[in-house]
């Protein structure tokens, strides 16, 4: 038992609360960054001049812009008083002298209106002195173009284990990136106030880092910059590192013009300028024993970092730490490196490299299962971690038995075995349409690998009237963090949910915050909010003890009432106690702080215990594939997922479902196509709009979609026994990819191993079906011949 995980009687956590902003959302009253700009008088609009060359020295002539009516100022490198860099690695010039990717913003035009700024940008001329460019990962590998530090995770002796394995396979697995496509594009609004301070409302997951970058670009200290993140219209990792430069542009404009400046990328700008999920190219060799147990994995992972490092190193680190997914692999040698290409700088995206690592092992298992004649579900289950086993990076797999339990529960509740039998008979009589049902597990490590990020702060105020206002360092991007924090505060103070309000996330309320990322928002900030509330509650308990004539240790806070243990008639309203505390000069506000205990990590050798715990889950997906076209439908999805004891079940189910569908989009539909030709638009993103880059829509929603939260799942290491939920469910979508693979396999002969391109678009599936059919054709002929 731990105090962190214990829940009092009648907790507000665990209730299915609606999103705290739901009523604002549905009425359009919820304000986002550019909505605030729309309500700001005298605001200027910033518009970029984007490069049309993937790699070139540039000479920019901005004089034309000043001839356009309504253009107020053009921002260039010469205007930067501080550091001309948008990142923390000093490799991302904010105003570059070299275009490093097609779409790179070179200078920014400020206009009285968007139309003026846009026309001003059109009037800027750019001369390009072309340089050689690398667009694909393969081109970078061939050219030996890498950046950052390569890392290796190693355990045992993969080479000799491979040599002695009964079954050895090798292959290449490569897959594309994913555009975040948050519905709200990047946006900032900067205002320089009467005291010379900069206030930046920014759609950012990491206000403190945005603050630091704005300060270093402006050449001022952090105490002169306040960044607020009121709410985001989606982020998914895309606003962890990438908003900083845009905020700095807006702030620089505000400094130079004395006017408020708004910067909101339109969709095309956002999709062509900002980074995405990292594509990977992985070559691998795997060994299994005669019973299908994994023996060894040797892999080289090359991720496409794009033009600058951004978060590529930790993304790669997490990929290396997740290529085991849920499976015990005794001997591992996995080497990871970061390609440097002339594309936008790839960045965090829900899962942060984890999905890319999981992709590898699930692809391998899906490919080898038919080849060794083992049912893919059985192959997965038998290789699950057992209690006491450790990951290749040396961390004990806590609660490993949950994998088997969840798997078994899902298999039974989703009626998997009976349905697979039905599918088999359906397929036998259906030559052109095939179905399949597959299951995949997920195990995902929770905590930032970078230990320092695992801390958080909060500021809680109790007013004399008993109402409560909380601030914390986490940002709201739709995941419901603020709702959970309200539930945590109400639980800790024994209040009803409506008695607690939350103030916008600002760097002048809680400093030095970590990004709201790595699924850790509720764990970290919840710990801090709880700490602050408990400090106040302890002080109020003394006051209440005197009021109720009991020892402070026998005071209970619940439902807005403060009462004496065992003497419920002795009670006072929370507000009465608060008022009494004020009169007795007892402090009614507190700063809370939380750090995750027990973490250690040595990045040099990639060993340690970087994660507080693991989140588990499993999904069963049934699909139907049309052999004529390669189109498919997801017929049914069943999920059992482990969120610990849920803080807020409706929100958690929302995260599980949303994560699944987003993963489904990445694996099946969403395709980033770049011009890889040597033509004039080499390096241009060809799918740069909603009409060409297709997200899942209503038509991709599974016809039947059932999510169950794993029960009695208390996690001792997190606030009120809960677990993080943001990222892990994305990887449940591998069950859909594996089901498609199996359905494709049904077009082929027995034991046909299906290689499926990614994303598994209808065209990709079609080609896989053709390959399977071609493999079946000679087999059918052979069968016919032997029958004669």
């Amino acid at each position: 038992m731990s105090a962190l995980a214990d829940r009092p009687a009648h907790p507000v956590v665990g209730l299915p609360a609606a999103h705290e902003s739901a009523a604002l959302h549905v009425t359009g009253a919820a304000m986002y960054t550019d909505d605030l700009a729309a309500h700001t008088a005298g605001v200027l609009t910033a518009w970029p001049v984007q490069s049309t060359n993937a790699h070139a020295k540039v000479t920019v002539d901005v004089s034309g812009a000043y001839r356009v009516p309504g253009v107020v100022r053009v921002l260039t490198a010469a205007d930067v008083p501080g550091v001309n860099d948008a990142g923390i690695k000093n490799d991302e010039p904010l105003f570059p002298s070299e275009s490093r990717f097609y779409g790179h913003a070179l200078v920014w035009v400020l206009g009285e209106t968007q139309e003026a700024a846009r026309l001003g940008a059109e009037a800027v001329t750019v001369e390009y002195e072309p340089l050689p460019s690398l667009i694909t990962v393969q081109e970078a590998i061939d050219a030996g173009s890498y950046q950052g530090i390569a890392r290796t995770v190693q355990r045992g002796d993969a080479a000799s284990a491979l040599a002695s394995s009964a079954h050895v396979f090798e292959g290449v697995t490569s897959f594309g990136g994913q555009e975040h496509f948050y519905l709200e594009t990047h946006a900032s609004l900067a205002i320089r106030d009467s005291e010379g301070q900069y206030f930046v409302q920014c759609s950012t997951q990491h206000p403190s880092e945005t603050q630091e970058i704005v300060a270093h670009v402006l050449g001022v200290h952090s105490n002169q910059v306040t960044v607020q993140s009121l709410r985001m219209g989606g982020a998914f990792g895309g606003k962890e590192m990438q908003p900083h430069g845009f905020a700095a542009i807006a702030a620089l404009g505000a400094k130079l013009t004395g006017r408020p400046v708004r910067l909101r990328l339109n969709r095309t700008q956002d999709i062509t300028m900002t980074g995405k999920r990292h594509p990977f190219h992985i070559s691998w060799k795997v060994g299994l024993d005669e019973n299908g147990y994994l023996q060894a994995l040797d892999a080289t992972l090359t991720c496409d970092g794009g033009w600058s490092l951004d978060l590529s190193e930790p993304v790669l680190g997490r990929a290396l730490c997740h290529l085991d997914n849920a499976y015990w692999i005794p001997n591992v040698h996995a080497h990871g490196r970061i390609a440097k290409t002339n594309k936008p700088s790839n960045t965090a995206f829900r899962g942060f490299g984890g999905p890319q690592g999981v992709f590898l092992i699930e692809d391998i298992l899906g490919r080898v299962a038919p080849a060794i004649g083992v049912d893919p579900l059985e192959l997965r289950r038998k290789n699950f971690y057992r209690p006491g086993q450790s990951t290749p990076y040396g961390q004990l797999v806590k609660d490993a038995d949950r994998l088997d339990t969840i798997w078994g529960q899902l298999r039974e509740e989703a009626d998997v075995d009976a349905r697979r039998a039905e599918i088999e008979s359906f397929n036998a009589s259906s030559p052109h349409v095939k179905r399949a049902l597959s299951m995949t597990p997920v195990k995902f490590g929770i905590s930032f690998n970078f230990a320092a990020f695992n801390q958080a702060g909060a500021l809680v105020h109790v007013y004399k009237d008993g109402s409560v206002l909380i601030n914390h360092g986490g940002t709201e991007m739709g995941q419901g963090l603020h709702t959970k924090m309200l539930q945590v505060a109400a639980t800790a103070l024994g209040l009803e949910l409506h008695q607690v309000r939350l103030a916008p996330t600002r760097t002048d309320k809680v400093p030095n915050t970590s990004a709201t990322a790595a699924s850790s928002g509720a764990d970290l900030n919840g710990g801090a909010v709880k700490d602050a509330c408990e400090q106040i509650r302890a002080r109020m308990a003394k006051v209440a003890g005197r009021m109720l004539d009991v020892d402070e240790r026998d005071v209970r806070f619940s439902g807005g009432q403060v009462s004496a243990l065992g003497r419920p008639e002795r009670k006072a309203a929370f507000a009465e106690v608060a008022h009494a505390a004020y009169l007795q000069r007892v402090q009614l506000f507190a700063a809370g702080y939380y750090r995750t205990e027990g973490l250690h990590w040595n990045p040099e050798i990639m060993q340690g215990s970087p994660f507080k715990y693991f989140a588990y889950g499993a999904a069963a997906t049934e699909v139907e594939v049309d052999g004529f076209t390669g189109t498919y439908r997801v017929r049914r999805v069943d999920i059992v997922h482990d969120v610990g004891d849920s803080l807020s079940p409706m929100l958690d189910i929302g995260q599980v479902e949303g994560g699944y569908v987003q993963g489904l989009g990445w694996l099946t539909l969403e395709e980033l196509r770049w011009d890889t030709s040597d033509g004039p638009h080499r390096g241009r993103l060809q799918t740069q709009s909603a009409s060409t880059y297709k997200l899942p829509s209503f038509s991709e929603m599974p016809e039947t979609f059932t999510v169950r939260l794993f029960e009695n799942a208390r996690e001792d290491g997190a606030v009120y026994g809960s677990k993080a939920v943001g990222e892990p469910p994305l990887m449940l979508a591998f069950s859909a990819r594996e089901a498609i693979r199996d359905a494709v396999g049904a077009f082929g002969p027995a034991r046909h191993s299906v290689e499926l391109a990614s994303p598994a678009t209808p065209e990709a599936v079609f080609w896989a079906v053709r390959t399977a059919q071609a493999a079946a054709a000679p087999a059918a002929e052979r069968a016919l011949t032997s029958a004669r």
Binding site: A23, Y182, G233, N266, F628, S689, S699
Partner: protein, 490 residues
């Protein structure tokens, strides 16, 4: 300055000063109604959806959801619109808002106002009716198909709204939980009154004009005098040009309300469909009379787009990837062109002359399309896309065949996405006519479907895939006409 006024959420707001290219979305946001969001500015995401009061068949009004990002605000002269802010407030949520909020239908909330408007449009749809009570399962749950809820809610109403957070399930649950509007509901009551009349509009701002003529004759005169003018009906294509490619026109002529272009008549030997009739309206008025079009409509973009998009626009742009041309080609449709000098009719198969080019002369408008009757008995529309709803086709194939006693008597096959223009697969048609409808014939004809096509590789699909889709489409059609196909040796 001008005195043009739009009724927004029950209040009259002046357009004074807005540039003529301004979209309804930008105007709403500029005037402080920031609930409508821009997610894509090309009618794909629906975050800007708003309701427009349009005339209903019975002389009353329908609340029709459209993409505010595509509609020029001057096209709303004298019209009534409702945004999420006008549906309800935090203190008094509208029923769709209440259901969305309670079901967990909003996470980040950015797409939500648009969803609320699309859902409200369906909530108020006059012919939204639950399935009859006697079609219940044993469990007591009313029968409903994949795309309809037990309350008659058509999920296609939301096909033009994207959500990146929820995975859609809670939004669907919210939609399926909606009841019927109360009699006292002011937006419900509004349905009983006539929709606002279209007003003739003439706005000139900074030298650019937006004109809505009163009659077709007036429009044709304008076009004769200013042949370079941009003709705007639903603006679902032009709106994208304005937003994404920054195109501006000095002369815009709005024709979407011209009565002469909004007719739909079914006579003994022809169905005539007005060029400016929104596709949703065509779909409603045809009511299944043309099965091939019934198959096509749900696959044509999204409901939000179909509420504005027209046959005239789809043919007028001359795009090779428009969805209606392959179907209209298969139906043997003809195009009625009209100018100040008079009218002429051309076969659609002779209409397209090159990439985004046609025989339509300057000064000519498409007035109507004509579909000859009787229709072929066996028709099908195959659209190959990455996504099932609201995607642009990589290949579109429409079939219209008559099979009499096992022999193909007529065949027309329309193709889209495989050449610079939509085209007919004449060689395959010839290989079918007069032949028995069997695998051998189908295989022979299949090999010829692509004969006139020149598919290309692009970001949607490879040339090889497109070619093979042409090859297999007829086989796929055949497989659906024969439940049990037994191949016998020749």
């Amino acid at each position: 300055m001008n005195d043009i006024v739009v009724n927004v959420n029950g209040s009259r707001r002046s357009l004074a000063g807005a540039a003529v290219h301004t979209t309804a979305l930008d105007w709403l946001r500029d005037t402080g109604l920031s609930g409508s969001k821009e997610g894509c500015a090309e009618g794909e995401c629906g975050a800007c959806a708003m309701l427009v009061a349009t005339p209903s068949a019975d002389g009353g009004t329908a609340w029709t959801p459209v993409n505010a990002c595509l509609v020029p605000v001057y096209a709303l002269d004298g019209q009534e619109i409702v945004t999420a802010e006008g549906l309800g407030s935090v203190e008094a949520l509208h029923p769709v808002q209440e259901k969305l909020a309670a079901a967990g239908g909003s996470q980040c909330g950015y797409c939500t106002p648009g969803f609320a408007c699309s859902m409200a449009g369906e909530y108020y749809r006059a012919d939204r009716t639950p399935p009859p009570a006697d079609t219940e399962h044993e469990g007591g749950c009313p029968v409903h198909d994949d795309d309809h809820g037990p309350n008659g809610f058509d999920l296609h109403a939301l096909s033009g709204n994207l959500c990146r957070c929820t995975g859609y399930r809670p939004i669907r649950d919210a939609a399926y939980a909606l009841g019927v509007p109360e009699d006292a509901d002011p937006l419900r009551k509004r349905l009983d009154e006539p929709a606002p009349e279209p007003l003739p509009t003439r706005a000139v701002v900074d030298g650019a004009s937006f004109v809505r003529p009163r009659t077709l004759a007036e429009a044709l005169d304008l076009l004769r005098d200013e042949p370079s003018a941009t003709v705007i009906a639903g603006s679902t294509d032009w709106g994208v040009e304005v937003n994404i490619r920054g195109r501006r026109t000095p002369h815009a002529i709005a024709i979407d309300h011209l009565e002469e272009l909004r007719t739909l008549t079914i006579s003994e030997d022809v169905i005539e469909i007005g060029a400016a009739l929104p596709l949703s309206e065509v779909e409603r008025r045809l009511d299944g009379a043309v099965p091939l079009l019934s198959q096509l409509f749900p696959q044509f973009a999204s409901r939000l787009i179909r509420n504005r998009a027209t046959f005239g626009g789809n043919l007028g742009t001359g795009s090779p990837i428009g969805d209606t041309p392959p179907a209209l080609l298969a139906l043997g449709a003809r195009v009625v062109l009209v100018s100040a000098d008079g009218e002429r009719e051309v076969a659609l198969s002779a209409y397209f002359t090159g990439y985004r080019e046609s025989v339509r002369g300057s000064g000519e408008l498409i007035r109507a399309v004509r579909i000859p009757l009787p229709l072929a008995k066996l028709t099908a529309f195959h659209k190959i896309t990455k996504r099932r709803f609201d995607d642009i086709s990589s290949v579109a194939i429409a079939f219209a065949l008559d099979i009499d006693e096992g022999v193909v008597t007529t065949a027309r096959i329309g193709l889209g996405g495989v050449a610079a223009t939509p085209l007919r697969a004449y060689a395959a048609e010839a290989a079918l006519v007069g032949q028995p409808w069997n695998v051998a014939t189908v295989r022979k004809a299949s090999a010829l479907i692509g004969a006139e096509a020149t598919p290309m590789s692009d970001h949607r699909a490879s040339a090889d895939y497109r070619a093979l889709m042409l090859d297999s489409a007829l086989l796929k059609l055949y497989s659906t006409t024969r439940v049990e196909t037994k191949e016998v040796s020749a």
